[in-house]
């Protein structure tokens, strides 16, 4: 059984493959998803074939899901510990995580600045509404409802784009955006947008209606 990314190489079910370590041939019986090691596709073979290929009946690695059982002569690792033993895995993950969070921070800042500027630009208009007698709390409600509407539309569009990208991206690309991550990032952006618009609200709270009246057309 082969990782499904090998389909792109033209390999099909029923093909026969060979290896310099094995005298016979391997017949492809099926494909499985997401079975890679260090971004290389994995081939799953029987225990007997493995022993014949490597001339040993000792196992190098045994993966037991959902168990803490230990086997004599084998060292045991948790999944996390095992992943950290893979060469350059941690360095790669750290770099990727830094890129992701750097982008999150930058876009979050842009998001907050956008709402801040959007409201600050309308300070004159808010000043006029204050002169007419609108409550400051109603101005805050107006700003928050605008923010909520824009944020929801933006998140729906960005989620749709990211999901479409996930669908069309090549299998070999290590890109997997889960629903949990999507929801977490959406929440981060909603909070950041709220902070941005609330900060501008404090500027609007301070505006003198007289100043707005004297500044010409809102």
């Amino acid at each position: 059984m082969l990782d499904s990314s090998l389909k792109a190489e033209g390999i099909k079910v029923g093909d026969e493959l060979s290896s310099p370590l094995f005298e016979g041939t391997f017949k492809v019986i099926d494909f499985v998803d997401n079975k890679t090691f260090n971004h290389s596709p994995v081939a799953l073979i029987s225990q007997e074939t493995f022993e014949e290929m490597f001339r040993t009946d000792e196992w190098q690695l045994l993966y037991l899901p959902d168990t803490t059982e230990t086997i004599s002569s084998l060292q045991s690792f948790s999944k996390k510990e095992f992943l950290s033993t893979i060469p350059s895995y941690q360095a790669e993950q750290m770099t990727l995580n830094m890129i992701v969070w750097f982008l999150v921070v930058i876009s979050g800042m842009l998001f907050a600045i956008f709402f801040y500027m959007m409201n600050v630009q309308k300070i004159g208009m808010y000043g006029i509404l204050k002169a007419l007698g609108i409550r400051t709390s109603d101005l805050f409600k107006m700003m928050w409802s605008q923010m909520a509407m824009i944020t929801i539309i933006a998140l729906l569009i960005s989620t749709a784009i990211s999901q479409v990208f996930q669908y069309v991206a090549p299998d070999s690309m290590p890109y997997h955006l889960t629903l949990t991550t999507t929801l977490q990032l959406s929440l981060v952006f909603a909070v950041v947008g709220f902070i941005g618009s609330t900060l501008s609200g404090f500027q609007i709270k301070k505006i003198d209606p007289l100043q707005a009246i004297q500044q010409g057309e809102a």
């Binding site: 208009m125 204050k130 002169a131 007419l132 007698g133 609108i134 209606p209 010409g216 057309e217």
Partner: protein, 233 residues
């Protein structure tokens, strides 16, 4: 009893280390159904007097009496509530909200004023006022598609949609040509009479004084003279 009574209004500004007195004890009584025009040279204090009367800035001393309450002694929130419910404003620029249609501008003002009315009643009031200012045909227009004169008509409609008791108009014709200025002032005079309001307006344009019932000439922070319309018409 006057609708709005100004008693010994004084206003000083601190300019560096010196104190500048802009209003030096102005008395003025504004009656129902009357348009009072404030005239005078720049810096005479007429706009300051209007904004103090409207509760838009604090005064140094004196009284602004509206419905037996002295606005100078009320908390900011109480003044805001009076401004929203009982005062209407027309400014030099129309200051319409750019992303609201004419109908929405008026509907928003009714909300600000806290008017409790059904959708049907609100719609009827909007149509009645727009009919009065001759703007029913632009009900769904945005400010960007209105001419200067139309914008000012909508501004007048917004100022009176909630049936205020006092209308403040700070140079409402300053950005209009002669014909539109006359139309706007005639409209303000007309709604003052028909709604039995009190209007206080500031103007630089002597031609507009024919639309006032009384003209108060401000000079050096004082009301130099108060004259009836007879002299100007």
């Amino acid at each position: 009893m006057a609708q709005l009574q100004l008693e010994q209004i004084r206003k000083s500004f601190i300019n560096g280390e010196t104190e500048e007195e802009v209003l030096k004890g102005v008395d003025l009584a504004l009656e129902k159904g009357e348009v009072t025009a404030l005239v005078g040279a720049s810096g005479s204090g007429k706009s300051t007097l209007l904004t103090i009367a409207a509760g838009l800035q604090p005064l140094t001393s004196g009284k602004v009496i509206f419905e037996n309450q002295n606005l100078a002694e009320l908390r900011a929130e109480q003044v805001r509530a009076i401004r929203a419910r009982h005062f209407g404003f027309v400014f030099q620029s129309s200051h319409l909200v750019p992303f609201l249609t004419v109908r929405e501008q008026l509907s928003k003002m009714m909300d600000i004023a806290g008017m409790k009315s059904t959708k049907h009643e609100q719609e009827a009031q909007i149509h009645r006022i727009l009919d009065q200012v001759g703007m029913t045909h632009r009900l769904n227009a945005y400010p960007s598609s209105l001419s200067g004169g139309e914008k000012q008509r909508v501004a007048v409609a917004r100022a009176i949609i909630h049936n205020p008791k006092v209308l403040f108009a700070d140079e409402p014709t300053a950005s209009l040509d002669s014909k539109r200025s006359k139309d706007t002032m005639a409209l303000i005079q007309n709604v003052t009479k028909s709604l039995d309001m009190t209007t206080l307006t500031v103007t630089h344009d002597e031609e507009m004084l024919v639309y006032a019932d009384r003209v108060v000439t401000m000079k050096d922070g004082q009301a130099e003279s108060v004259e009836s319309v007879g002299r100007f018409s």
